[in-house]
Every structure is written in structure tokens, then in C-alpha cells.
């Protein structure tokens, strides 16, 4: 919107190499005051490196960073912050045990007589957070807030530092829809006050909604830069992927579920799962070759359902049966033995073992089966590992590569491989494409489709409505821990799903009226 062309931050011919990788090659970028500038690209395109150079985490090998037309060379994040460059990271990077106010003002606490003025700090924090749509007692530990509220605190913190440039690295990935709206209002206000915003996101709707310009990166280079209005989605995506736009269409809504039969035998049957405060009488059948989407807003109990099915969450009552055989013991180990595999929501926390190699991560769950008299057969391992690397097209330099060096998409594939080598009958996927780029996303979605075609029963949890609608044969909708709807066939539409999620009375033939009548 603004075209004052007052360039705040300029990167000029910046290059950066790491041992074995050329992360950035001759990258130039201009951020103008008052603009929201989208930075997009697949994983490994160099976005993170670019951000880290702008914020002083890394130093550029070549090229120049200029802030307000003066060359700068930050050697640590503090210098960048002091100069007015703030960053909001994808995962909330605050101190969970400290209070909200202390997090907000860490390092810049208001002081009186040399001592931190706690009362004023809490007062200021409360007022400041209200502007961001959060009304909490700022003396509470940050940990006690919901993730979205925590993200808002980190944004408030970033803005607090008289920022000239705010870099947002996928700020909405952990936010609810309502919180996203608040964030957008905040972004608009920041931009209007002359702050330059670099906005990294994979969500197209967001980019078109709030960004003025876009810079596309691929393989460490800038491949294009344009006003948002002058480029359509397809052009943008094809630029990011460096592929012909027509390739992408295949993963569109039309392709799925065609030419694939859902067989009639129920593989995974869940009946009457109850978890106190969380789930109420959740029943769910998944047939052979079927992808059942699990819809619901944040906190509706989607992840909890998956976790309760595999026994990672203790259910007070309810039954789970695989191929008609009831699971007597309820534990993740028993679930695995029965043929249920779950890909958890948080790759870092629950899945990937970062210090281990790709090979070790893949065979981890299968080790008991690969071993003979306590010894693991290496040849058998290699066979399996190379099969899955090939089958899932995991991009690795070698199976010995550390899994932490892979991009998010490839890490997710490694996890998928881990469970697939157990030959599961049912696969529970919790946000399988969160935080991974468009290309890898399409690949993972394609894989899910193939796996279902091979006869797997799949439960798909996704906050991405498009993914849910396009990727599922049927969508079970949860609200406040209860199954409130079951969309099948032609009823699987955007509109119906939205209505079900939002508890729109016009379709509530099966649902009890929700408590919040807003």
C-alpha cells in the first residue's frame, strides 16, 4: 500500500556458506518502511539463513546489510535488536517459567533506583497486551497461557523494542483463526506506523490478505520479487517450486479419491472413548483404504483423540479394536503391536531423535523386529532404510546423515518411514504437513493418498481446511471433545465443514447447541 520507497533494510549481494552447503548466493532484498513484505520459498530455499543474517545470528560471508542506508554487521541478536530489528520465530521463543510481564520486558525492565519496578512492569504489560487482544494477569507464568497467547506476547515484545523492522517467521502456525485475525490487525497497525515487516509464511491466503510485496527464494537465491497484486497464486507457487504450474494441479481437489475404492471392512474401530475434560464418547470407524479427516478447531480434541486411540492419553472408558480384535492393554507399545502407528503433531518433541542419523531414526521402532537374539542385523536395516528413502523420496546425502540437518518435510518423511516399516494397518497422522513447504507438502499428501490406496486405514488431522477437504474421503468433526458431524461424499465441502466447525445452527440436526452462542 505505501510506496514511500523509504528503504529501511537492504541486503545487497549477500552470500553465506556452511561446510558443504551454499546457503545463500548473491541475495538482494529491500524492505521499505510501512510495507508488509512476504518472503516465500520451499524449505532449504535460504529463508532462515537470510533471516538469521538480518538478525545477527549469522554473519554474511559476502555482501552488505544496510539499515537506514548505513552498513551494519551484527555479530549477535542483541545488536540487531538494539538497532531496531526484531524477530518473531515460528516456535514461541520465550521463557515458559518466567512471568508474562518479565518475558515481555526481559532486558528492558523499567527501573527505579536501579531496581526493577515490578509493579510498573506488570501494569505496563497488562496495558500493552490488551492492545494485542490478550487480557491476562501478567504476573502469571507464561507457560500457563495458550500457545496463541504466548505468540502474541512474543509479538508484543518484538514491537516493544522500538522496532523499525519486524521479521515474522510463520507467526500463525500455532494460532487459532480468531488469534490470526488479531495478529493481522496488529500487523496492519504496525505497518501503518511505518514499521517494515518481513513476513514468512506458507499460507497463501495470508500472503494475499496482508502482504504488499513478495520475494521468492529458491536454492539460496532470489528468483523473483513483485508486488503482491501483480502475481497470482499459481505463478507464485510455480516460482517457488521452479516447476511448471500444470504439475501442481494434480494434487488439487479433483484428483483425490477418484480411482480408489474404499473397502467395506473396518480396520480401526473406536467406541465411546472418554477422557476427562477432553473427550466425550468419541466413536470412529476407519475402513481399509479410507482416509478419514478429523476436523475441529484448536482444543476440540483432535490430537487427543489420536493419542487416546494409541493409549498415549489415558482414557477412562472406551474401546479400540483393530480388524475386529479388541485391544486389551492400552499403551503405545500395545497399539504398535496391534498395527496402529501415529505420527505425532510435534516432530521435535515427540518424534525425531535429532542426534541420530536418518538410518537410526527410520529403524528405531522396528529394531525389536529386526533383531535376532538381541543383535540387530545391519544388512536388513540397510535394505529397509534404502527402500524407504527411495519410496518416500527422502532427500538425504546418505543414510548416515544426521536427521537434524534435514528440512522439516524430509524429517516428516523419515518419521513416516519409521512407522511404515512396521507394516501398520492403521496410520494416525497429526498435522503431517505443518511447517513444511508447499512442495514437500504436496509430496506428503500424495504419499498419504498412495498409502491409503495400498489398503492402509488413515486418520488425518489437519488445521489446514484445504488439506482436510482435499485429502479425506470423509470428515468427522469434533467440537468440545464430541463428535458433532460426519461429512461424507458430496457433503465434504468447505461450506459444510466451516458450518460444522463454527456450530452454525442451520445444519445442526445432529449437534447439541454449543455453549458459546456468539
Amino acid at each position: 500500500m505505501s510506496d514511500s520507497s523509504g528503504v529501511v533494510l537492504r541486503l545487497d549481494g549477500v552470500s553465506k556458506s556452511f561446510p558443504g552447503v551454499r546457503a545463500l548466493r548473491d541475495v538482494s532484498l529491500e524492505l521499505r518502511a510501512g510495507e508488509v513484505h512476504a518472503l516465500v520459498g520451499e524449505n532449504g530455499a535460504g529463508k532462515s539463513t537470510l533471516i538469521k543474517i538480518s538478525t545477527g545470528v549469522y554473519t554474511a560471508d559476502e555482501g552488505e546489510v544496510r539499515l537506514l542506508d548505513a552498513p551494519v554487521s551484527f555479530t549477535d541478536p542483541l545488536q540487531a535488536q538494539a538497532a531496531g530489528i526484531s524477530t518473531i520465530y515460528q516456535e514461541v521463543n520465550l521463557i515458559p517459567l518466567m512471568s508474562v510481564a518479565r518475558n515481555l520486558y526481559l532486558g528492558r525492565e523499567p527501573r527505579r533506583f536501579g531496581l526493577v519496578d515490578t509493579a510498573r512492569m506488570n501494569r505496563d504489560a497488562r496495558a500493552r497486551l490488551r492492545e494485542f487482544g490478550i487480557d491476562v494477569n501478567p504476573a502469571r507464568p507464561l507457560r500457563s497461557l495458550a500457545l496463541g497467547a504466548q505468540q502474541m506476547v512474543s509479538i508484543a515484545r518484538a514491537v516493544e523494542i522500538d522496532a523499525r523492522v519486524v521479521i515474522m517467521d510463520e507467526p500463525t502456525s500455532s494460532l487459532e483463526k480468531r488469534e490470526v485475525e488479531t495478529l493481522f490487525t496488529v500487523i496492519e497497525r504496525l505497518a501503518a506506523s511505518g514499521i517494515a515487516i518481513l513476513y514468512v509464511s506458507h499460507r497463501m491466503e495470508e500472503l494475499y490478505r496482508i502482504c504488499d510485496r513478495v520475494t521468492v527464494m529458491r536454492d539460496g537465491q532470489v528468483v523473483g520479487s513483485s508486488a503482491m497484486a501483480d502475481i497470482d497464486r499459481l505463478q507464485l507457487v510455480s516460482m517457488m517450486l521452479g516447476r511448471d504450474a500444470s504439475d501442481l494441479r494434480q494434487h488439487g481437489s479433483t484428483a483425490f479419491a477418484e480411482g480408489r475404492d474404499v473397502e467395506d471392512d473396518v480396520v480401526l474401530r473406536t467406541q465411546g472413548l472418554n477422557v476427562r475434560h477432553t473427550l466425550e464418547d468419541v466413536s470412529l470407524d476407519i475402513r481399509r483404504g479410507e482416509v478419514v479427516g478429523l476436523g475441529g478447531l484448536l482444543g476440540a480434541g483432535r490430537s487427543e483423540t489420536a493419542r487416546a486411540i494409541v493409549g498415549a492419553l489415558h482414557a477412562e472408558s472406551g474401546e479400540v479394536a483393530v480388524n475386529g480384535k479388541r485391544l486389551r492393554r492400552r499403551s503405545p507399545a500395545a497399539a504398535i503391536r496391534a498395527g496402529i502407528a501415529m505420527l505425532p503433531e510435534d516432530r521435535k518433541l515427540d518424534g525425531i531423535v535429532p542426534g541420530l542419523s536418518v538410518r537410526e531414526n527410520i529403524v528405531l521402532a522396528a529394531l525389536p523386529r529386526l533383531s535376532r537374539m538381541g543383535l540387530v542385523q545391519r544388512s536388513k536395516q540397510d535394505e529397509i532404510v534404502s527402500f524407504f528413502i527411495d519410496r518416500l523420496q527422502i532427500k538425504v546425502s546418505s543414510p548416515a546423515q544426521r536427521v537434524s540437518d534435514l528440512s522439516g518435510g524430509n524429517q516428516q518423511k523419515v518419521l513416516l518411514a519409521r512407522w511404515l516399516c512396521l507394516h501398520p494397518k492403521a496410520l494416525l497422522l497429526d498435522e503431517p504437513t505443518r511447517g513444511i513447504d508447499v512442495g514437500a507438502k504436496a509430496e506428503v499428501q500424495g504419499l498419504i493418498e498412495e498409502l491409503a490406496r495400498d489398503g492402509l486405514a488413515v486418520l488425518l488431522i489437519s488445521s489446514d481446511l484445504e488439506e482436510l477437504i482435499e485429502g479425506s474421503d470423509r470428515i468427522v468433526v469434533l467440537r468440545e471433545g464430541k463428535v458433532v458431524d460426519n461429512l461424507t461424499g458430496d457433503a465434504v465441502t468447505d461450506d459444510n465443514l466451516m458450518r460444522a466447525l463454527a456450530a452454525d445452527p442451520s445444519r445442526s440436526d445432529d449437534a447439541q447447541p454449543a455453549k458459546d452462542s456468539s
Binding site: 545470528v57 541478536p77 542483541l78 535488536q81 538494539a82 524477530t87 520465530y89 521463543n93 520465550l94 521463557i95 515458559p96 517459567l97 518466567m98 518479565r102 526481559l106 532486558g107 525492565e109 527501573r111 536501579g114 531496581l115 526493577v116 515490578t118 487482544g133 490478550i134 487480557d135 491476562v136 494477569n137 507457560r143 500457563s144 497461557l145 495458550a146 500457545l147 496463541g148 497467547a149 515484545r157 487459532e176 480468531r178 488469534e179 484448536l298 482444543g299
Partner: protein, 333 residues
């Protein structure tokens, strides 16, 4: 939006993640030390004749005043997510250096030498931990051995004990009943203010809570770490120096295992061993609790000697640590 006191949980999507039960556990973990201390003192006052006398109280307080400073030093380090195993040795070294200094230059040297050595050892340890990224456990274990070795060298393998003349200025410094108590109280009070009301204190909590996040939030992590080990080393040496003044001698075989008692007191006081949370007053309660238990056992179970008090203290520590890890696990779920 209208009401402030009742609305928060509604306004923040998802709301509070702490259940009442968790809150009770958290309270128990944080306030358990002080509460148990009060209970033990009350019960002992009622049932143990001779416990609740001003003479016995001052014995407990004076006897633990300087040792409590080790727990104070350890509190800072543990909150920052580290550990300092060298405080016991530094305590002994501080005392020997002070007595040696007294004999080789007078009261001024006796005071300044331990401070200087404690500072230097602390800075070296802190730098190795912060800049060379070595594990605090190993670095301070080396510090423990180094300080003990230096002490042995000065005292000719412990055979020479330097004495402090009773009439000297230095001997006056740490002697008496009120001076040790007031010194400890003052230092604890200052420490509490530093921890809660200064940016340095906040930085310690931040680093202990999440070092990476602290770094990204602009905390000077390495500098703060060096500073906290410097503080710890200096405080331990000062405690030893004051103790030597009180004993009027640089006792060479003192301080063995004190670091572990200090750590126990800190943890019993509710400071989380992995860092990021804790309090000075908790540590004070932890120190006093251990001291009171030791005193009681000394009076009533003297036939069992120190083994009984170690047993009780060990059991208490185990309960606190179990509670802590239980809490941590519940939160991780």
C-alpha cells in the same frame, strides 16, 4: 473484555493449562521447604525440651551462618541452569588463604586475598563453561580439585595450620554471635533483591529457563554465566574467609562435601535443579531445615551421630526431587 478479574481464561483462547492439582503440587514443591521448616520448629519447640531456647537457636544460626553462604552462591548458579561443585573447596581455600594472608601481611591481605582468588577461580570456571562450552559439572569438579590442591600446597599438605591472632582486626570481622548472623542475613537480603529486582537476576532465570530463547531475546548469556560463577567462587571464598576469622585459624580439612549439602539445601528450598525457577528465601528455609534437623538429631539421637541426620536429610531431599520431577513430567505431557 469488560471485567478484568474473572475474564482472562475466556479471553485467552485455550486458557490456563494448569489444573488445580498441578497448582497444589507446584505450591508444595516451591513452598514445601518453608512449610516443613515451620512445622519442624513448632513440633520441636513443643516436644523437645531445650530446643526452643535462645542459646540453642543462636548455636544453630551461628554454626550455619557462613556455610549458608555456599547455598546462597549455589542458588544463583542452579537457577542459571548450572552447578558449582567447587564451593566446598573454595570455602576451605578461602579460610586458609585468609589465615595465610594474616600471617604474611596483616588483616588487609587476609580479607582481599581470598576475594581475589575466589574471583579469579570463578571467572576461569565461568569462562570455560560459557565460552568453551564445557559442562559445568566437569569444570567445577576440576575447580574443586584445583582449590583443594592449592590449599594443600599452601598448608604443606595440610600439616601447617595458620592461626589468626585473636586481637587482630581480621579476627574481629567474623567473630561473635550477631556478626555472623547479621552478615548472613544481610547477604541473603541483598541476594534476594539482586535475583528478583535486577536485570542480572532476570537474565539468570531466563538462561536457566531456556538458554536458546534467552539468547534470541538478547540476553548476554555468556557474560551472565561468567558472572554467576565469579559470584559463586567469590562468595564461597568470602564465606571461608569469615569462617577462618571466627575460628581464628585456617582449618585445612574443612569443607569436604559442603557443596553437596549446599545443593541439597537449595533443592529442598524449591529451586529446580534444572534451572529457571527458585528463590532465595526458599534456600534460606532449606539451609535452616537441614540445620534444625541436624541439631535435633544431635540432641536426641546422638548415639547415631551424623549418620542419622544424613539419613533424614537424604530422605527429605529424595521426596523433594521426586516431587519436582513428577511436576516436570506432568507438564511435559
Amino acid at each position: 473484555m469488560s471485567s478484568q478479574t474473572t475474564a482472562p481464561a475466556e479471553d485467552v483462547a485455550g486458557g490456563v493449562t494448569e489444573t488445580p492439582r498441578e497448582r497444589v503440587f507446584a505450591l508444595l514443591q516451591r513452598q514445601g521447604g518453608p512449610v516443613v521448616l515451620v512445622l519442624v520448629v513448632l513440633l520441636a519447640s513443643i516436644f523437645s525440651s531445650g530446643f526452643a531456647s535462645s542459646g540453642n537457636f543462636s548455636t544453630i544460626l551461628v554454626g550455619n551462618a557462613y556455610i549458608s553462604l555456599l547455598a546462597l552462591a549455589e542458588t544463583f548458579v542452579i537457577i542459571s541452569g548450572g552447578i558449582d561443585l567447587s564451593v566446598g573447596s573454595m570455602f576451605a581455600l578461602g579460610g586458609v588463604l585468609a589465615a595465610w594472608g594474616m600471617n604474611h601481611g596483616g588483616s588487609g591481605v587476609a580479607v582481599l586475598l581470598p576475594i581475589a582468588v575466589g574471583l579469579v577461580v570463578g571467572v576461569v570456571q565461568g569462562s570455560l563453561i560459557a565460552y568453551a562450552r564445557l559442562a559445568p559439572f566437569i569444570v567445577t569438579l576440576a575447580g574443586l580439585l584445583f582449590a583443594r590442591g592449592l590449599l594443600q600446597a599452601i598448608s604443606n599438605e595440610g600439616s601447617t595450620t595458620y592461626l589468626v591472632p585473636g586481637h587482630s582486626v581480621f579476627a574481629f570481622l567474623g567473630d561473635g554471635t550477631w556478626r555472623p548472623i547479621l552478615t548472613a542475613v544481610a547477604l541473603f537480603a541483598i541476594a534476594a533483591v539482586v535475583l528478583v529486582r535486577t536485570r542480572f537476576g532476570q537474565a539468570l532465570f531466563a538462561i536457566g529457563g531456556s538458554e536458546n530463547a534467552a539468547l534470541l531475546m538478547g540476553v548476554r548469556v555468556r557474560r551472565t554465566k561468567v558472572f554467576v560463577y565469579m559470584l559463586s567462587g567469590t562468595l564461597a571464598a568470602v564465606a571461608g574467609m569469615l569462617n577462618a576469622s571466627r575460628l581464628q585459624s585456617g582449618v585445612t580439612n574443612i569443607g569436604v562435601g559442603y557443596e553437596l549439602t549446599a545443593i541439597a539445601a537449595v533443592v529442598i528450598g524449591g529451586t529446580i535443579l534444572t534451572g529457571g525457577s527458585g528463590s532465595i528465601y526458599g534456600t534460606a528455609a532449606g539451609v535452616l531445615l537441614l540445620a534444625v534437623i541436624q541439631n535435633l538429631i544431635g540432641v536426641h539421637l546422638s548415639q547415631y551421630g551424623s549418620s542419622a541426620s544424613d539419613l533424614v536429610n537424604g530422605a527429605f531431599l529424595a521426596v523433594v526431587v521426586v516431587l519436582q520431577s513428577f511436576l516436570a513430567r506432568r507438564r511435559a505431557l
